[in-house]
Symmetry: C2
Subunit: 171 residues, 2 copies
């Protein structure tokens, strides 16, 4: 898929077909995350690829919003370096956007899940104290009965300025 088409056509997806996700595709998604920008190139992230049905069920049970994680065929958990406090969240977010775009280009949807019982989830996944769980990204093919949601975006006019704030047209 074309790079710009992937960015513009991506939608949030919360309902997944039961079709398994190819391990090779999950690896391509992780590679996309690994190639994100990061401040001073510190790459303050780690990724846990989860495909075990029982573990995904348990993870879903620990999500406060995003219980649909229990029904996804695969998930990638993004960990954030706790020692790199200034920019780590911003850097991890860039990895997430890259992974969402790469997944979409491979036919897979995802949704940012960030509200969970962090301590229990960390225990389930064996996450050391030097890292915190930044987000869970469930991945799967769209459920044909519940296609990805289009989200209403603010218009370009509401957010683009030229040369100075408040100037809506190119000079």
């Amino acid at each position: 898929m074309d790079a710009i088409e992937a960015i513009l056509s991506r939608r949030v997806q919360r309902a997944f077909a039961p079709t398994p996700v190819e391990s090779e595709k999950l690896l391509q998604i992780v590679e996309a995350g690994r190639h994100a920008m990061s401040a001073r190139n510190l790459q303050p992230w780690q990724f846990i690829v989860v495909q075990n049905r029982e573990r995904l069920n348990e993870m879903g049970g620990l999500c406060i919003t995003g219980r649909f994680v229990a029904e996804c065929p695969a998930a990638i958990v993004v960990l954030k370096d706790n020692s790199n406090t200034r920019w780590a969240a911003v850097d991890c977010a860039q990895a997430v956007q890259n992974m969402a775009n790469a997944g979409w280009a491979l036919g897979l949807g995802t949704c940012w899940v960030g509200n969970f019982e962090a301590q229990k989830l960390g225990e389930l996944l064996g996450v050391p104290v030097e890292w915190s769980i930044f987000t869970i990204l469930p991945f799967g093919y769209p459920d044909p009965a519940k296609p990805p949601q289009g989200k209403p975006l603010k218009s370009r006019r509401e957010m683009v300025h030229y040369e100075m704030y408040g100037n809506p047209k190119p000079n």
Copy 2:
């Protein structure tokens, strides 16, 4: 350019050819930012497109690191909503990653410039107090004499785990 190729091949660029950047391409880059993910779809960003030579020079003079902004043919300034403190930075970072990828797919490089005299820059660009300057993204074609830098990445082995933290191989 293919979506995944754009993500994997992107490099940081700090030296630009003097070739002007087409306004249409800058608009495509802004569109990529507009289509980033954001928490609760709040889209807490604004973009200022700058192509005026004199203004770019002034902006470069206000950058503490990133004075090369003075030599870029165009820049996009990303503003962050100050009223949306929990997730705004993370959301803006996702817009930045999308814009860097889209620019790269269009033949343009960029570099995250985040260290500047914020108050003076805000006055120069007329930024209201409700917004803060998140980053300046200079955009331009590569200077043939200074091609984009490859950055050393940690190996996949150092950051990918399967099912549990510390498990380096798929089960």
